[in-house]
Symmetry: C2
Subunit: 405 residues, 2 copies
């Protein structure tokens, strides 16, 4: 397989030299493409570099298919066991994402076209407790209890997480299968959250995807490498991932007329523009009044409540949400929602205050319920063992080897 797709290559040239995996949403480029340009890049030539300053799968444009697997360490797995698992998983993820067959697999035909496959690993609190207790980040703990949430234990915290994304669902399933089997001496699957967004090329280039409420979702994300350095990645290249599973009541939502839906969100359904603006990326005018002297954007709308207040500009993070849609329970019409993935440097500072504000007051709360929550440390990116440069040769090496200060 060629190493880097045209999409990945373009993104790479705009990023830090040597970090080909730091793709960014094409919509974000200075040279912004038209919102109606079809995608004719061949997916068979698309792959994302595995090694780099940051793990791939974060700044990478969102791929169509998500297998997010939460794993728990088996009884008796100690610090040395965690190191062995990380060496093994890192090596296999490096091979799979490059379209090469991992050593332990007999099926090279299944990995020939990785279709932008990324495999991103995160550590739950317990990995630190077992392997590096004095290195645990201060923010690595459960998100505090929130109003309205109805968390279910089956979607709770796990020891490890793998975020496996690809533009080909077969590749995503195959990579999950391989990684699960490769780790079977060390971990067992606690949960699997399967999600999807629009397929590669199925909406015009540069369009922000919509969730199952029909809302444009992801407008306020970081765009430039500077945004990512400010919001998402710590100086050592690490990050954090908060997973919130959010059930969405499509049945009730769809009883609303379009105006009511737009008031609840604060944006137009047609293009995601704020109700005071013309374009998706226009800044909202929170002071604007309508002909009756009422605010155009409701102060309790989702957008208004999610915005960082003027005195807390640090309350920003990367949204990388996926839709889920499962067989409905008997008598129900649907079981759908969001696997909401938030990446940031420090959830306590950037994420949790926003969540708290939303779950206290947000018009959308009438149709959404948080049913799962987990927090992970995302190790920095890696380099090939024996390769040039410094940095970890496997996920979390600096922490697990006790080398982090």
């Amino acid at each position: 397989m060629p190493g880097v797709s045209r999409r990945g290559f373009l993104a790479g040239t705009a990023g830090v030299a040597g970090v080909a995996s730091t793709g960014m949403l094409l919509a974000a480029c200075d040279n912004e493409p038209s919102n109606s340009e079809p995608n004719t890049e061949p997916l068979t030539e698309a792959s994302v570099a595995f090694d780099g300053a940051h793990q791939a799968g974060i700044q990478t444009p969102t791929q169509a298919s998500l297998n997010l697997a939460g794993f728990n360490l088996k009884d008796g797995v100690d610090a040395a066991g965690v190191v062995r698992l990380m060496r093994l998983w890192t090596e296999d993820a490096r091979e799979l994402t490059a379209g090469r067959n991992p050593l332990s697999s007999l099926e090279p035909e299944m990995v020939k076209w990785p279709a932008n496959l990324t495999i991103t690993c995160g550590f739950g609190e317990r990995v630190f407790d077992i392997a590096a207790p004095d290195q645990k980040p201060v923010w690595l703990h459960d998100i505090p209890a929130m109003p309205r949430e109805e968390l279910r234990p089956e979607w709770g915290q796990t020891d490890l997480v793998l975020q496996i994304c690809s533009d080909d669902p077969v590749m995503s399933a195959w990579a999950l299968r391989h990684m699960t089997r490769a780790g079977m001496d060390y971990v067992e699957t606690a949960w699997l959250q399967q999600g999807f967004v629009n397929a590669f090329g199925s909406i015009p280039k540069g369009q922000t995807p919509r969730n199952l409420f029909g809302q444009v979702d992801g407008t306020v994300n970081p765009r430039s490498d500077e945004d990512y350095a400010e919001q998402v990645f710590a100086d050592d290249g690490s990050s954090s991932l908060v997973v919130r599973r959010i059930a969405m009541d499509l049945d009730d939502w769809e009883r609303l007329d379009r105006t009511s839906r737009e008031v609840a969100v604060g944006r137009k359904l047609s293009d995601g523009a704020p109700l005071t603006g013309e374009d998706e990326f226009d800044a909202p005018d929170m002071e604007a009044l309508d002909e009756y002297g009422l605010p155009v954007i409701d102060k309790n709308s989702h957008m208004a409540r999610a915005m960082p207040p003027a005195d807390h500009p640090e309350q920003k993070f990367l949204r990388r949400p996926y839709n889920y849609s499962l067989p409905p329970a008997p008598g129900e019409l649907s079981d759908a929602g969001l696997i909401f993935l938030a990446y940031q440097q420090d959830p306590d500072v950037q994420f949790t205050p926003v969540l708290q504000r939303l779950l206290e007051v947000d018009r959308l709360n009438e149709w959404t319920t948080h049913i799962g929550s987990a927090v992970y440390w995302i190790p920095p990116g890696t380099r090939k063992p024996g390769g040039e440069g410094s940095g970890d040769t496997y996920w979390g090496e600096t922490v697990l080897s006790g080398a982090r200060g």
Copy 2:
């Protein structure tokens, strides 16, 4: 939306005039493309014509995402109710597949790019019992009990089925959502079988996809319109669908070396060629012996057992299989398999004898278990009400109106 994709258009020109939906696998064209040509057709311009002599979604090249929904009629729904549901569903499916918003939907943005969406409807036995008992096809009954099968009631027969396929999983989920809600006065969901194959463009043009055993799957399918007329469609344009849900034990399968896997199937893993051949589409030589005088293709291999015997050339049908991969049960590594969709004129004659032969003896049986079964009559294609020509204006009109002889 433009009406027909380049892919659909090419297929249409090779087919019957006016039946733009009769696409065929590109691999089948006389002018066969190279097996390594990337796909650069824009998916945003791809749609499949709804009306035609046959329903779309059968001869249509397999799209990436499947939502196969089994519905049961609510208590009290009579023949007139079935007619109302079919009018409503047919009209909404016609709109959705063309990228237009159905009357009852407020979300035109969600349907702009159907990405080869097809919605195909089937009738279970009970629809005939209620609405047209004297018109029930003789083959419309449960598949007879088979050796080895472990059928689960939750994957059993339903009154109606919708096969919803798209190359965009969001479109597929949205269409399912809409059709479920549109039919809520008449039906409730009994089961939902969600599957996937390789994404649009994620493997080179003309390649036959692989299942999660790594096998090339679909080599012996009908290719030409003549094949389809002989095997799949009755003279009135109707067909039948057999759904078999087949669990696959990936864990045990992956303990085999490649040679053992190839012996079990009778084909090479690398390219799907029969063990006696060089190319996927080579005819197998069942008499060939190896250097020890043993058959090259095991008489009990999957391929040998699935082949129609010389005196029963009619034992052929269209395979339109999808993979499934669900969260594993506690302590397990995977829960995966096939949603095996078989289309033919008459299951009793074409499908069931093959199934019987396979479930009696087939080396693959060691790693597969049939856990679900259902059979449906597939109504002929439709035409727009008020439009030219004759034929049904909604699914099953001729049968439901008592006009079929």
